[in-house]
């Protein structure tokens, strides 16, 4: 169904964002501001591969990646770091490429004075300065709040370090898995029946998602506030606090009731819930999840599976008994789910009003009817990688346009150097060439480049 839309402009047209950002939260936040029409410039250095955005190492080992065949977040097209026609590896890394759209990537060695002078000129021409490094990184370069405010009083400065700008752990360093461990998510994510000290693997982090969406929202609140006061401000968004904010019950139950919530895994404190094996038509591993909240759901469930005799067992006939006997109940449910395909389980149960769904593998996500009908994926052609389907935007918006990520696919290292230095900063061809010759800028890592880990 097509609905007529009204003509509107990009909400953040005319706003310039300067990103001094590393892995996930910062670059992703910049991309989201880019989606809304801001011009998102993101600096990198050819002397330093930061935050694993473009690679674990400046010069990757081809053999290592050729042998990673179980997916993950660090990979290259066809498992080849360098492309078949010599395409540059830093522009082919799945981790960075997943979130470098609507971004003007440029390089600059700001560790040398001349580079820093140019960086300051860009700061003066920006509305929003985003950074998510450790708290000491920017001040060490002279980029303190006081200095930034002095050279550009209207600048909105957003700092998003792991633990904040103050407090005993302010300078602790960590990636997602480390921080999520420190704020209790890892502990909460164990299998319910595992001993207290056993942890399961995290292939999901909440801090990045919360941070990536809070930073641009705070930036927009800053823009609204700036209209009232005419001045910029310093905004601090600790990434660890984002996790604490979206898992409130764990802390509140301890602080208010003195209880440490168990690791629920797939169970639920007041519903029959689990992840069950299926017949496995879709992949070698095929699972379905089911939630039975109340008597109505239970009756629907029993009807959907044909009311077998065990459904009438008093052990399962009311909500309290079902929760008490869930281990036994799970065996009955599993015996039924094993006879069916995970999608069939969803459709059969949902037809009776029972919440259920398949555990989707990557392949299943791309083939899912709902996602296809929502036209969710964006086909993007990036010159170093070719054409692939990328994940789409949050929400469907009727009138307000978002910048098409396909028009600005994942930026290459230094791809927009000319745009930044000639068009924005007005450097001459000769001055620009000097920056190239002196390795202030470039489109490939300099020999001897270092990595952050």
């Amino acid at each position: 169904m097509k609905v007529k839309s009204k003509k509107k402009d990009y909400p953040l047209k005319g706003i310039r964002v300067l990103g001094f950002t590393q892995s996930w939260t910062g670059p992703y936040a910049g991309m989201l501001l880019g989606d809304l029409g801001a011009e998102h410039l993101r600096v990198e250095q050819i002397q330093y591969a930061g935050g694993m955005t473009r690679g674990i190492m400046p010069f990757p080992m081809e053999d290592y990646f050729a042998n990673i065949k179980d997916g993950g977040i660090f990979q290259y097209p066809d498992r080849k770091c360098t492309g078949p026609n010599g395409e540059y590896h830093m522009n082919r890394f799945s981790f960075g490429n997943a979130h470098l759209q609507n971004t003007y990537g440029f390089t600059l060695d700001f560790q040398r004075p001349k580079g820093m002078e140019l960086f300051k000129e860009l700061i003066k021409k920006s509305d929003i300065f985003l950074e998510n490094n450790t708290p000491t990184t920017a001040p060490k370069l002279g980029l303190t709040w006081e200095f930034l405010h002095e050279i550009n009083p209207k600048l909105i400065v957003i700092r998003s370090p792991a633990f904040g700008l103050s407090g005993p752990h302010y300078n602790w360093k960590g990636f997602g898995s480390n921080i999520e461990a420190g704020v209790g998510h890892t502990h909460a994510l164990r299998y319910s029946d595992d001993p207290e000290d056993t942890i399961s693997t995290l292939e999901t982090y909440t801090m990045d998602n919360v941070g990536a969406h809070t930073l641009p929202t705070a930036a927009m609140m800053g823009l609204m506030q700036r209209e009232k006061t005419g001045e910029g401000m310093l905004i601090e968004i600790p990434q660890a606090e984002g996790v604490l904010d979206v898992l409130p019950i764990y802390w509140m139950d301890y602080l208010i009731n003195g209880r440490i919530q168990p690791a629920w895994s797939n169970r639920h404190p007041s519903a029959v819930q689990g992840c069950y094996p299926t017949r496995g038509d879709n992949s070698a591993e095929d699972w379905a999840v089911i939630t039975i909240y109340n008597d109505e759901d239970w009756n629907g469930f029993c009807a959907a599976i044909g009311n077998p005799a065990w459904c009438k067992d008093p052990k399962f006939s009311d909500a309290v008994s079902r929760l008490k006997n869930q281990d036994e109940l799970d065996e009955h449910i599993s015996a039924w789910t094993k006879q069916h395909d995970c999608y069939a389980i969803m459709h059969m149960l949902q037809a009776h009003g029972v919440p259920a769904g398949p555990v989707l593998t990557e392949k299943m996500v791309y083939e899912d009817r709902n996602m296809l009908e929502h036209d969710f994926f964006i086909e993007e052609t990036q010159k170093w990688c070719g054409t692939h389907k990328y994940t789409g935007y949050t929400g469907k918006i009727r009138n307000t346009p978002r910048k098409n990520r396909a028009d600005m696919p994942p930026t290459g290292l230094g791809e927009y150097n000319e745009y930044v230095f000639k068009k924005i900063l007005g450097l001459s061809d000769a001055e620009y060439q000097e920056l190239v010759d002196e390795e202030y800028i470039g489109t490939e890592m300099a020999s001897g480049a270092k990595a952050s880990i």
Binding site: L12, H169, G184, L189, N209, E241, M252, T394
Partner: protein, 400 residues
């Protein structure tokens, strides 16, 4: 001069569960006036969610309700009645942003469609948050946070090999949807406040999960690049022969040691001999088994907090695997005043996390605790011009 950035923005909250309620909480905590419309008698679903303060299942004591509805006002209204609909439309006239989370069928039955509402208020920004979106084959399907994570998140790769995939922290997927929706609604509102043209937003929780800044986004691209799906992995080597988790005297440590810091790590655990041995490096896979023994022997000598401080002080990434108790007693959050105290008229003294955006003077403010059911009904109706007797009539007829 307004101190909070969202001051002056009027939000009508017709949400009933976590994602929507968290989205409107974020508006309220940063200054917007948020009016929550609740079903007379029962109220918002978040009032009847485990756990409760003092384990007392009172609609004002659910910890979800106490957290999700801070700084909001509550109006009870029977939206199925014509008189209730009239009140709603009066409110829509002066609303900037309306957020609702009814099932699409229910939304339509309640007459909450944007085409109608924009006739009354052309500046209205309306957002619907539903399990699978307003259109598509699953639009009427039910879900839970586990089902949303299974279909939109990285569940298939979360957990251990040979065991079922597992959920992440309880309801995190739904809270994250709330943050994402907040972001996009503010983005759209940035345009509307300039051009006066309203908009309609349709959030599917499943799509939102997939659009988030999560491992899943990259796993999907890796799949596009190689055809490989991300498998559940043991907490064995994350890079080379360095595991993600190391056991120590009183728990676990979560490590982040890359190729450039591996030698330093070996020195710091007292194995300078190995650090200087050219046969030992992060990718010496033939040493994998021996390495685990080396780590275990060294790490059991100290506790998790001691190790964390020691490694952090020496430039190695390491953070202890903390329990809720460790987190709540952490000196860092104590000093930052992160867990704020609040007096609630029914639940008593409670504590909860504050917002993660810090500005001086603070944009995040705790001005009022979560409201009691219908606490502001009279106040709101009076402001709409209903007299004392009208309010009695509405109450008698079960509208409020």
């Amino acid at each position: 001069m307004a101190k909070q950035p969202l001051e002056g923005i009027k939000v009508l909250d017709l949400t009933n569960h976590i994602a929507g309620s968290y989205c409107t909480k974020l508006f309220a905590d940063y200054g917007a006036s948020v009016l929550k419309i609740e079903k007379p008698g029962r109220g918002c679903l978040t009032r009847s969610m485990y756990p409760y303060a003092g384990d007392d299942p009172d609609p004002d004591k659910s910890l979800y309700h106490l957290y999700l509805n801070t700084n909001k006002k509550s109006l009870t209204l029977n939206l199925k009645s014509e008189s209730g609909q009239k009140v709603l439309l009066d409110l829509v006239k002066e609303t900037d942003i309306l957020v609702e989370s009814f099932a699409p069928k229910v939304r339509a039955a309640l007459g909450l469609d944007y085409d109608t509402l924009e006739q009354i208020n052309p500046r209205l920004v309306m957002a619907s948050i539903s399990n699978f979106g307003q259109t598509g084959p699953y639009r009427d399907y039910k879900a839970s946070d586990l089902i949303e994570f299974a279909m939109g998140g990285a569940m298939s790769s979360t957990g251990m090999p040979g065991r079922p995939p597992t959920n992440k922290g309880r309801d995190a997927s739904l809270f994250e949807t709330g943050v994402q929706a907040w972001h996009i609604i503010v983005g759209v509102f940035m345009g509307t406040r300039k051009d006066g043209i309203g908009d309609y937003l349709d959030f599917s929780i499943m799509d939102t999960e997939l659009a988030g800044c999560e491992r899943r986004t990259v796993q999907l691209l890796t799949y596009q690049f190689t055809g490989d799906s991300t498998q559940r992995r043991d907490p064995k080597p994350v890079i080379g022969i360095m595991p993600r988790a190391l056991r120590c005297k009183d728990g676990y440590l979560n490590m982040g040691v890359g190729p450039t810091k591996f030698d330093k790590f070996l020195k710091l655990i007292g194995r300078e001999d190995l650090a200087n041995d050219p046969a030992w490096n992060l990718f010496a896979f033939d040493k994998a088994e021996e390495a685990m023994k080396v780590y275990e022997d060294a790490m059991m000598k100290k506790g998790k907090l001691e190790w964390t401080k020691y490694f952090q002080d020496n430039g190695i990434i390491c953070i202890s695997v903390n329990t809720a108790e460790d987190v709540c007693k952490d000196e860092h959050w104590e000093e930052r005043g992160f867990f704020v105290k609040q007096d609630h008229p029914v639940a008593g003294e409670i504590r909860m996390p504050r917002g993660n955006v810090h500005v001086d003077p603070d944009w995040w403010q705790m001005k009022a605790p979560a409201p009691r059911l219908g606490e502001h009904t009279k106040e709101v109706l009076t402001s709409l011009g209903y007299g004392k007797e009208d309010i009695v009539t509405l109450k008698t007829q079960g509208v409020i």
